[in-house]
């Protein structure tokens, strides 16, 4: 039993070692993990050719479900960035207030969360850290503030690709998981804002900024909750960031400060043009989600029934209808349409230099290749583990080992997955099913445990070595990576511990 459990865990440990000790990227470690899983599944757990064959078909469907959003989100970001939209927004914000704490909240928290909502992929720190350095923040604070500030927005950010991964990995409907995840992430949002204020101006500054902090956290958390629970989770992170920016702009009049920012601010028309690409996305998402168009588009779907499968060791996976891919109303398709519309708007407004379309497509193809490989291999790995009974065995061991403490442990598992793989999405693909099975074995709320998984993954992702390297690079290497890592471990550790406490409290009072 212990040998089986250790062997089931071995491929996950292999990924940790490859990524942390040998510094492989997820696109290399994921395939290595799949090869290890297949070897263990066949040689020890009795998985036959039929299990490997059906696993790979399932992995294809689940990977496409997640990748359509990753590709679409990256494309839209490139369309906007090539048009100078992100730069325009970044130039406009410092002119609103010279109050150091309010600048940190606006740029390092609300704007970073907005950027995570529309882009992700390390963009929040890359864009905002240089702005904060330019405003006179020390390089360490300029990297730490947006890194911590956008963490709560990762699950519903990147057009909710991590949440889509949670749906794909667990097979549960998004509607069932959206509320608990949004509640826990709202708490993480308040914690992130508080830490941003502390990083910018110490605990005294936190007290001074408390009213603004509470209002912004409430507005962002409530917006994300409202959008996610109404089925439009693709724009939940983005909408929350927008709402945070809007209320932050109003609050900046109260916390105005005394000095002005250098240079002239962009004209309102320029800011409106910059935002227009994202306005198209909101309009299209709402059009598909809230009108009869949804039913019409829903008809074009791919679904393959899966038979019951058994290993030679006797582990049986029952037959099911298989994942359903509604391609026409898929968030990735909507993102593709929004990208095209945004491109036409920006082009008409004269935002592009010649050759923009080619550069956008080339950068997108180059940018998403490694993450596509990582996602495809990790999904494949997760599905084989599930069909071979390895996930089930690991869950049984966790349930016995952690017992009543499991709610405290759950966010740390999510965080560990994200720390290793550099991605909340990959963490959910690797561990969400394991967390679901463990919660079922312990008889505790599956949706709260999955909320803890993805919230822990969101916060843990910002401290992953790859993101830290990117963040330090954006501050022109004026601060050392290990220094940023050391500080981030403290801040994110506090947030993850709070998430564990909140999940345990929610389960204790019998929520859901």
């Amino acid at each position: 039993m212990l040998l089986d459990w250790t062997l089931a865990l071995a491929p996950l440990v292999l990924i940790v070692v490859l990524m942390v000790a040998i510094r492989w990227g997820a696109a290399r470690a994921g395939p290595a993990g799949w090869l290890a899983v297949v070897a263990v599944a066949v040689l020890r757990f009795g998985a036959g050719l039929d299990i490997l064959a059906w696993s790979q078909l399932r992995a294809l469907l689940l990977s496409i479900d997640v990748l359509l959003i990753v590709w679409g989100a990256f494309l839209l970001y490139r369309v906007a960035d090539e048009a100078g939209a992100i730069r325009t927004l970044g130039q406009a914000l410092p002119h609103l207030t010279s109050d150091r704490g309010m600048q940190a909240l606006l740029i390092g928290w609300a704007f970073a969360s907005f950027l995570q909502g529309v882009g992700g992929f390390g963009v929040p720190v890359v864009v905002t850290a240089p702005i904060l350095v330019g405003l006179g923040f020390p390089p360490l604070a300029a990297v730490l503030a947006p890194a911590v500030g956008h963490s709560w927005s990762v699950t519903y950010g990147s057009l909710a690709s991590s949440f889509q991964a949670l749906i794909a990995a667990t097979g549960l409907p998004g509607e069932a998981m959206a509320a608990d995840a949004a509640l826990l992430l709202a708490l993480a949002g308040l914690g992130a804002g508080l830490l941003v204020a502390q990083i910018a101006c110490g605990w005294r500054g936190v007290l001074r900024l408390a009213p603004a902090l509470l209002v912004m956290a409430a507005v962002m958390g409530a917006t994300q909750y409202a959008l996610a629970t109404r089925g439009v989770w693709t724009i939940a992170g983005f909408g929350a960031g927008m709402a945070g920016l809007a209320v932050g702009l109003a609050l900046a009049r109260v916390y105005r400060g005394t000095d002005g920012a250098p240079g002239a601010p962009p004209k309102p028309a320029q800011v409106a043009t910059a935002l227009s690409g994202y306005a198209v996305l909101v309009a299209l998402t709402l059009l598909v989600a809230l009108t009869p168009l949804r039913g019409l588009l829903d008809r074009a779907a791919v679904q393959v029934p899966f038979p019951a499968l058994a290993t030679a060791s006797g582990f049986v996976t029952p037959a099911d209808d298989g994942p359903r891919l509604a391609l026409m109303r898929h968030a990735g398709t909507i993102l593709g349409a929004a990208s095209l519309a945004a491109y036409l708007i920006y082009r008409r407004a004269g935002c592009y230099r010649p050759g923009a379309a080619r550069r956008i497509l080339a950068a997108t193809a180059r940018g998403v290749a490694p993450s596509s490989l990582a996602i495809a291999s990790m999904v494949s790995m997760s599905v084989v583990m599930s069909y071979a009974g390895m996930t089930d065995l690991l869950a049984q061991g966790l349930a016995r080992g952690a017992g009543g403490l499991f709610p405290f442990v759950a966010p740390w598992i999510g965080a560990l997955g994200a720390f290793i793989t550099g991605s909340n999405t990959n963490s959910n693909l690797l561990f969400a099913l394991l967390q679901r099975r463990t919660a079922e074995l312990l008889g505790v709320s599956v949706t709260w445990i999955l909320a803890a998984q993805t919230a822990g993954g969101a916060v843990g992702s910002v401290v992953s070595p790859t993101k830290v390297v990117v963040g330090v690079g954006s501050a022109d290497h004026a601060v050392e990576e290990h220094t940023v890592m050391r500080h981030l471990l403290v801040y994110t550790g506090a947030l993850i511990a709070a998430l564990g406490l909140a999940a345990a409290a929610a389960l204790a009072v019998g929520a859901r």
């Binding site: 395939p31 294809l60 490989l373």
Partner: protein, 59 residues
């Protein structure tokens, strides 16, 4: 096995997409091949293994 630094960026991107196709596309045919002949299924499975190895080599 080659290291990422030895592969020019443009070729690495193309090879990564080739590895991606090898990993995912055979999955669409595998269950059908299983019903037809075990040899065909094994051939498709070896394509996936080749894709995984290629991904490790070029990423």
């Amino acid at each position: 096995m080659s290291t990422p630094r030895r592969v020019p960026p443009a070729r690495r991107g193309a090879l990564q997409w080739l590895a991606f196709a090898l990993i995912l596309l055979p999955g669409a045919l595998l269950p059908a091949a299983l019903g037809a002949a075990a040899g065909a299924a094994l051939a498709l499975l070896s394509l996936i293994v080749a894709g995984m190895l290629l991904a490790i080599a070029v990423s």
